[in-house]
């Protein structure tokens, strides 16, 4: 636990030490607010529904940026050797890195609360939807982060990690869309469950279903496990 906290602290520190995190936070808040309020007054409805429709797409650009350097930079600069020769299990390092990125994302989401608060001032807002939406956003973000962290462990190049993660997140999100399902034939039911979109939109509608929770938690665990394995691969007796 001490080790976990030490790594967690280091990672959070390095988010706040780097300008990149601030830039991405700013981009996230500005694009999110702009795209939402652009149509908000036309629709004339005190609803944040359209914001949560947008969120997965904005996440595609933000979350890979949060995870891209977590392993790639350690690999490139060689600090990974320092980190992984401390008396600590690999899995603790993976979890600490993951949780730090998740906490940072939650901080960014906290800042975006200005948006529903503004809406609530203007009209009668259904807070149930907002809570469901934010729970979904944390879970979907958590899923993207777990994927991004794993992909970052496969390369030394941050840009490669960023792009690969964005593409993978995009694929995982769209494979359950009806457009894709149409062309999948007998695989369609599998894709329907595997895709992240339905699970997220269920929550954004304010329905928190255990099936959706299980989906997110199990995929996140899968990527954490894969990440641990990819660190382990340095010990394979090739």
């Amino acid at each position: 636990m001490k080790h976990f906290l030490a790594i967690f602290k280091k990672e959070i520190l390095s988010y706040f030490n780097s300008p990149l995190a601030y830039i991405f936070t700013a981009i996230f808040l500005v694009t999110g607010n702009w795209l939402f309020f652009q149509n908000f007054f036309l629709m004339n409805q005190a609803s944040v529904r359209s914001y949560f429709d947008l969120l997965p797409w904005i996440f595609l650009f933000i979350t890979p940026a949060l995870t891209m350097r977590l392993w790639a930079e350690e690999k490139k600069s060689g600090t990974m050797e320092v980190l992984l020769t401390f008396p600590v299990r690999d899995i603790v390092v993976v979890l600490a890195k993951y949780v730090s990125s998740l906490v940072f994302l939650m901080l960014v989401l906290l800042l975006s609360l200005s948006l529903p608060i503004t809406v609530a001032c203007l009209g009668n807002l259904d807070w149930g939807l907002v809570i469901g939406g934010y729970v979904g956003a944390v879970l979907l973000g958590g899923l993207y982060l777990a994927m991004g962290l794993f992909i970052s462990s496969l390369t030394k190049n941050q840009i490669v990690a960023l792009l690969l993660t964005a593409v993978s997140c995009f694929l995982l999100f769209i494979i359950s869309s009806s457009f894709v399902l149409q062309s999948m034939g007998f695989l369609a039911p599998v894709f329907r469950i595997a895709g992240a979109a339905d699970h997220f939109y269920n929550m954004a509608r304010g329905v928190i279903d255990t099936r959706d929770l299980i989906y997110f938690i199990s995929i996140i665990s899968l990527f954490i496990y894969l990440n641990n394995q990819s660190l382990n691969s340095r010990n394979w007796k090739a």
Binding site: A6, G78, E81
Partner: protein, 309 residues
């Protein structure tokens, strides 16, 4: 204390280490010497538990590094090749992260290490702004933080200027009084200056082990002496060859028509300087210079690592 037995490491088909066995006693300073790519770094990575060997094993204080990596890691302080550090942290932040990872809560111990490594002036500086010498000290401080019994340093002086090299060497010597130190280098004087024992590694194999004296002795075999004498060349050569136990006499250089340098080899390992002096004086020659030619570690190293296989 450290026991390496039959260590082999393959990367794909290439063998980085080929059946290396070695024992290091407590309190020794051992230097790994070898050309780049010889397997020094690979050996160290295995010792610290960062990677696993293809076959063979390492035991430290009777604990197998692969089986109980965590308890072995607690005993070791490691400075990897190129001294990687988190560039975006200050020295203080980095060292406090390291003490967190090493579970060092004693602030006195932390301060002592900061003082030993001479870092008190740069604590608030960003690591990316440090000079190479200070970077190296920071790396050493982080390796020493938990007061480990064993210190593994991969090329601790690479890229430093001569003054910094001397500083770091002295630091290592000071630390080495109480600890077991394994360091690697391809700089020969470094080994001569700091190490009790040398392991010469070449192409994944151990080419020679021993103290520097032992290795040189083994490699040179015959004693060689250089003498500069004033007098007629032929006569001097005759006098020298007549000394029993002298094998060959060759002219090495010519300072002037009268003064010439000669290289004399002995038949066996024997110091011939007294005999040469007496013989020359008895025959009325003036001896201007006389010295044993020492085979340097450089020569031995070159011989051991460039040999055709």
């Amino acid at each position: 204390m450290i026991k390496i037995s039959h260590l082999t490491k393959k990367y794909d088909v290439q063998k980085a280490l080929d059946d290396i066995s070695l024992e290091v006693k407590k309190g020794e300073i051992v230097g790994f010497l070898g050309p780049n790519g010889a397997g020094k770094t690979t050996t160290m990575k295995i010792l610290t538990g960062f990677i696993s060997p293809t076959s063979g094993e390492v035991q430290i204080d009777g604990i197998n590094v692969q089986e109980d990596s965590l308890s072995v890691r607690k005993k070791i302080g490691y400075l990897p090749e190129n001294n990687p550090l988190y560039e975006d942290m200050t020295v203080r932040e980095y060292l406090s992260f390291v003490s967190g990872m090493r579970e060092v809560t004693d602030e006195k111990q932390q301060e002592e290490i900061i003082n030993t490594c001479g870092l008190s002036n740069v604590l608030e500086k960003n690591i990316s702004e440090l000079s190479k010498g200070y970077r190296q000290r920071t790396g050493l401080a982080s390796a020493l933080m938990h007061n480990p019994e064993i210190l593994i340093l991969d090329e601790p002086t690479s890229g430093l200027d001569p003054n910094q090299i001397v500083e770091i060497r002295n630091l290592i010597k000071k630390i080495g009084e109480q600890k077991t130190v394994i360091l690697s280098t391809h700089i020969l004087p470094e080994v001569q200056a700091t190490c009790d024992r040398v392991v010469i590694i070449n192409e994944g194999k151990i080419a020679a082990v021993g103290t520097i004296e032992e290795i040189i002795q083994r490699a040179k075999g015959k004693e060689e002496i250089y003498a500069k004498v004033k007098g007629d060349e032929e006569k001097v050569k005759k006098v020298l060859s007549d000394i029993p136990a002298v094998a060959t006499v060759t002219k090495a250089e010519e300072e002037s028509a009268e003064i010439k340098g000669y290289k004399i080899t002995a038949e066996e390992e024997k110091d011939l300087r007294e005999e040469i002096f007496d013989a020359l004086v008895a025959n009325g020659f003036k001896l201007l210079e006389l010295k044993r030619i020492r085979v340097s570690l450089e020569d031995v190293f070159r011989e051991l690592t460039t040999k055709e296989i």
